[in-house]
Symmetry: C2
């Protein structure tokens, strides 16, 4: 077997889960979302993790997989915000220095949070290309260990740990057929979930894995149609954690193999889902994290008759002002918020 195949084995996933569980003492909650009156749906709330997103899993796994090197050389990453905070937190916890490249259009809130967690933040031009050019230049110049936000084995395995928890948690429920809805940017989360679920030795349920992306993005859907990663033009979206213009190569290969469907949703539907999770479920979920609920409510994705849905609520890094302002601007329907 090649080293790559070994790296993606169920054994490697189990080892990753054990490695990060030492630092995240309990599985993230699985919550009955029936009060949302959408469809039979459960919510996997990654929002409650340190730094407010699932990204701490990959950050911990990335550093713990090569701890001594990271401690001696420091770590480096490029992020639209959530991976930045996660790496800053994990690096501080594991005694590594951290340098993070962010663009000048990243929300000041996310930049400040990253700095508060002790990382050095380097601001670059506001394009996806500039972010990566700066990151690769710094990697060469400084010798720091690059932790990729979505397209490395360690990141994909870290993300896959969610699926292992989920399969155990779902075993308590009577439903047999599950659709898991996963937000998509560079595809690392979708790839990790799909890989982990579809290679489980004894899954407790049958699963369909569904990627959800903004209508204004759509790069994964286009890439699947083309059979290779396709880059889309820059766009602006309320889901500001989903900004990759094309899927990562490793992620894309796994997605082609293991993912069942990809659907797209509109900006108003995303915002409305985010506000619904706040008003009915009392969870602060950033627009990117609410995109699965948006897919169900808008009809972009439909369950089969005997299925239930699980939405991954991936992050909660949005200010109340942002949610309120967005609402005032774009939705005048009466609501408690």
């Amino acid at each position: 077997m090649s080293p790559i195949k070994n790296a993606y084995s169920p054994q490697a996933l189990a080892a990753c889960r054990e490695r990060i569980t030492e630092h995240l003492s309990l599985a993230t909650p699985l919550i009955d979302g029936s009060f949302l009156q959408t469809c039979p749906v459960y919510l996997k709330a990654e929002t409650i993790l340190p730094t407010g997103s699932f990204k701490v899993r990959a950050a911990l796994n990335g550093i713990l997989s090569q701890l001594e090197r990271c401690q001696s050389k420091g770590v480096l990453t490029s992020s639209s915000g959530n991976f930045a905070q996660a790496v800053a937190w994990a690096a501080a916890r594991l005694q590594c220095s951290a340098t993070i490249v962010m663009t000048s259009t990243t929300s000041p809130y996310k930049i400040q949070r990253t700095r508060d967690l002790g990382a050095e933040v380097i601001i670059c031009e506001p394009t996806f290309e500039a972010r990566w050019a700066t990151t690769y230049r710094l990697e060469k110049e400084t010798g720091k260990i690059l932790l990729h936000p979505y397209d490395s084995i360690e990141t994909i395995l870290g993300n896959g740990s969610i699926a292992l928890e989920l399969d155990e948690q779902l075993s308590a429920l009577p439903a047999k057929h599950i659709s898991i809805l996963v937000p998509v940017s560079g595809g690392g989360l979708l790839a990790g979930i799909a890989l982990a679920i579809k290679t489980l030795p004894n899954p407790s349920k049958t699963y369909r894995i569904v990627g959800v992306q903004q209508l204004v993005n759509g790069s994964l859907k286009k890439s699947l149609a083309a059979g290779k990663p396709v880059k889309v033009a820059p766009f602006s979206s309320a889901a500001d954690a989903l900004v990759a213009l094309m899927p990562g190569k490793q992620a894309f290969n796994l997605i082609k193999k293991f993912v069942d469907d990809v659907v797209l949703v509109s900006e108003p539907d995303i915002l409305s889902a985010s506000r619904l999770l706040m008003s009915e479920q009392k969870l602060l979920v950033e627009p990117a994290g609410a995109i699965g609920i948006a897919a169900l409510r808008s009809g972009a994705y439909r369950l089969k008759i005997d299925e239930i849905a699980v939405c991954l609520l991936t992050g909660g890094n949005v200010t109340l002002e942002q949610l309120l302002d967005k609402k005032r601007g774009e939705d005048r329907v009466s609501s408690p918020f």
Copy 2:
């Protein structure tokens, strides 16, 4: 044994839990709150339940314990808001009509939510006494079944179901000694938790049970000092779910017997805890529900060296505007919110 003693047995608690679990498919989450940087603390998030508070447990148990009578006569209650919504939801789900007495000063948001859930709302004068006078008058006039928000066996058992879940969830953690911090209004929740935990046949941990009340209220502390329920003067508090002016009689007797400590916290500490849970844990928790965290952060309650804390996050029924406005008025420290 008298019927009352029977009603409070571990068997009755287990039966109550089974009865309501049919309607609330999963235990509420236990969440690692170490990112709050307060002390070793776990959060039991009742906020994610239908209608956003723990009160659905008691509402379900109250109706299910006498379902046919409730269906034929309808149910009646008096509430500052959270029990109102819970009874409205449970009654609609179980095909009962519901009438709820609320005061003219109850937040319009809570009144509207209760009506939206299908209940008839009767508005009375804005005093604790008027609420109960109206409720008892309606009970006589209409023959509806009164569900007491905090001082009935059914309510106390419903609340106790939280403790049964919690003891099981805590068994996964290495800590041996636990302090459970419980918000106090009429004392029904504190009584239910204390009763359930202290009569567990095989508890997984040792427990101290701690009631937490607003400094501007303090009725439970005064009552314990006096050895009997003492009524305090009306007060205004951000924790608008904790408005009972004295503990209920049944609750008080259980609290005297089973509760280890009662502490008081200030209004700014309560608001600050509520905002911290939003910014760091991404949970919308109303001020009343955040009072346990306030007790820990302010030093009003201190853990012993080998203890960890569990805070019951009891409800999330507050609007973002309320949280933001309160913040703008009372706390000008820079924060993401």
